[in-house]
């Protein structure tokens, strides 16, 4: 089978029109979940079928596509979706955030600030922020229509009463343009401030058949309380490879002696910093020596 056996960007035109109409209504009502007739895609639910359908409906032949999975360009999900559109839409692909015009993401927002000629497409597993509090779709839809979000505040309050702080660390609920409470997909709450962006942000949930959007420069507020303000926390470390102190970090276990390192989750951000000469604890001579010394058995603290 040749590549021409596919329509441009895989989906048929009638499906794309249906998705495009849903996207436009999503843009017109920021944060509201528009139902759409999600299609079977040549990948399982949970692998980004919602994001893929939104990307397919948005791509033009001139686009440059970047796909990330938890910030990384080189993981299985990201590589296969990138190849999928390389094959079916013949678009250029890149790993550089600044060069991309469409970025499909699973669970991260790139560290490099996005611009107004970029579109960020999120893969969303559970689009309904109230779903774990109220299992009925009929009820959650009514709650959204009445702007009845007390239950969500109760949930955050219970976090505080149990843990002393709001313990929700990812998929942290936001209120969009003072109206709809929205699930920003399971991005770390560290990324929540970046939801107010110059780029258009589109969210696709394939299994749950919902599309929603945040237009550029839209007000997005993370839910909190006056005495417990929102805190976009991160691990208190610098990246071991590039030394970045303001980026979101992954913890990597390096041995079975309790050794670990923290590295940027955004691989493009980390690589471009290293290319620009930044070094971290593991890439500088002194840092590496210190790490080796602390890892040698005679000086290691006994395990707790």
């Amino acid at each position: 089978m040749t590549d021409q056996a596919y329509n441009f960007a895989y989906l048929d035109e009638q499906t794309k029109r249906m998705i495009r109409r849903a996207i436009l209504k999503g843009v017109a009502v920021p944060g509201y979940q528009v139902p759409f007739a999600s299609r079977e895609m040549p990948m399982p639910y949970g692998w980004g079928t919602g994001g893929v359908q939104v990307t397919s409906a948005c791509l033009t032949p001139d686009d440059t596509l970047k796909v990330i999975d938890q910030g990384a360009d080189d993981t299985t999900n990201a590589v296969s979706i990138r190849k999928f559109f390389e094959k079916t839409a013949e678009v250029d692909v890149t790993e550089k955030t600044a060069e991309a015009t469409v970025i499909q993401t699973r669970h991260r927002i790139p560290e490099t600030p996005l611009t107004d000629d970029q579109i960020l497409v999120y893969q969303v597993p559970i689009p309904e922020p109230l779903r774990f509090l109220e299992p009925s779709e009929v009820e959650t839809r009514k709650m959204h229509s009445l702007e009845e979000y007390g239950l969500m505040y109760v949930k955050l309050y219970e976090d505080i009463s149990r843990h002393g702080e709001i313990a929700t660390a990812y998929a942290y609920p936001v209120k969009v343009q003072d109206r709809y409470v929205m699930d920003p997909s399971p991005i770390p709450k560290f990324d929540n401030p970046k939801l107010e962006s110059a780029a258009l942000q589109l969210f696709g949930a394939g299994r749950e058949q919902r599309i929603y959007a945040i237009p550029p420069h839209t007000k997005v507020v993370s839910l909190d309380f006056e005495d417990h303000p929102f805190d976009p926390s991160k691990a208190p470390h610098a990246c071991a490879l590039c030394g970045a102190e303001g980026s979101y970090l992954d913890e990597v276990i390096t041995d079975d002696q309790g050794g670990r390192m923290f590295v940027c989750s955004d691989t493009d951000y980390c690589a471009s910093r290293r290319a620009a000469g930044h070094v971290g604890a593991m890439t500088s001579i002194e840092g590496a020596t210190r790490m080796l010394r602390s890892a040698s058995p005679d000086q290691t603290e006994p395990a707790q």
């Binding site: 249906m18 436009l24 920021p30 139902p35 409906a57 033009t60 032949p61």
Partner: protein
């Protein structure tokens, strides 16, 4: 059957519709900006921009209302042949096309329901002048303020007051399109 009915579709439907949708998406996501949109050519009085929007968004599942300004036999046939979309009265329409005066009054158009505000009509308003000038716009998609030549102000303020219900608008002129979603606040310049 006249050639005017059969002609004027996309030469390369998938790619031309992709470019056209991006223009429509940018227009709706950034109210006040004016986007270039071409590809389709419908019988007069429909502009190329409105014709392209119709081909990009309409198919047999989208009921279409033609305002008196655009309700000509040739244009009806063109829409039916090119999209298969049923032509319906204003109250049943998902998409409506016409000049501002011909589309009025706006009351019959669907504004959605509280549970499903997306079930509302999108109006394609044909205008002679389309420029980033005139009334001031604020809201999602606009960093500070934007401006857009609008036929009037009060109708859009009433529409905004219905939020999250309401109508969404495209304004088309020749090969250009601008968008005005229900979320935009419109004020006197």
């Amino acid at each position: 059957m006249q050639n005017a009915v059969l002609d004027g579709g996309f030469a390369d439907p998938a790619r031309e519709a992709a470019y056209a949708f991006r223009a429509a998406l940018n227009a709706m996501a950034r109210p006040g900006t004016i986007q270039h949109i071409t590809g389709a050519d419908a019988p007069s009085p429909c502009s190329p921009a409105a014709a392209t929007l119709i081909l990009t968004l309409c198919d047999p599942t989208t009921p279409i209302f033609l305002a008196p300004s655009h309700d000509t036999a040739a244009f009806r046939d063109w829409i039916t042949f090119q999209t298969g979309g049923p032509l319906v009265p204003a109250k049943d329409a998902m998409i409506a096309i016409g000049t501002w005066e011909a589309l009025l009054p706006l009351d019959p158009f669907a504004v959605g329901t509280p549970e499903y505000p997306d079930r509302s009509a999108t109006l394609v308003v044909e205008t002679e002048t389309l420029a980033s000038d005139g009334p001031v716009l604020r809201g999602p998609g606009i960093e500070t303020t934007a401006r857009l030549t609008l036929p009037e102000i009060e109708a859009f303020q009433r529409n905004r007051a219905l939020f999250p219900l309401g109508l969404d608008f495209f304004f088309t002129s020749e090969d250009r399109v601008a968008g005005l979603p229900r979320s935009t606040r419109v004020m006197e310049a």
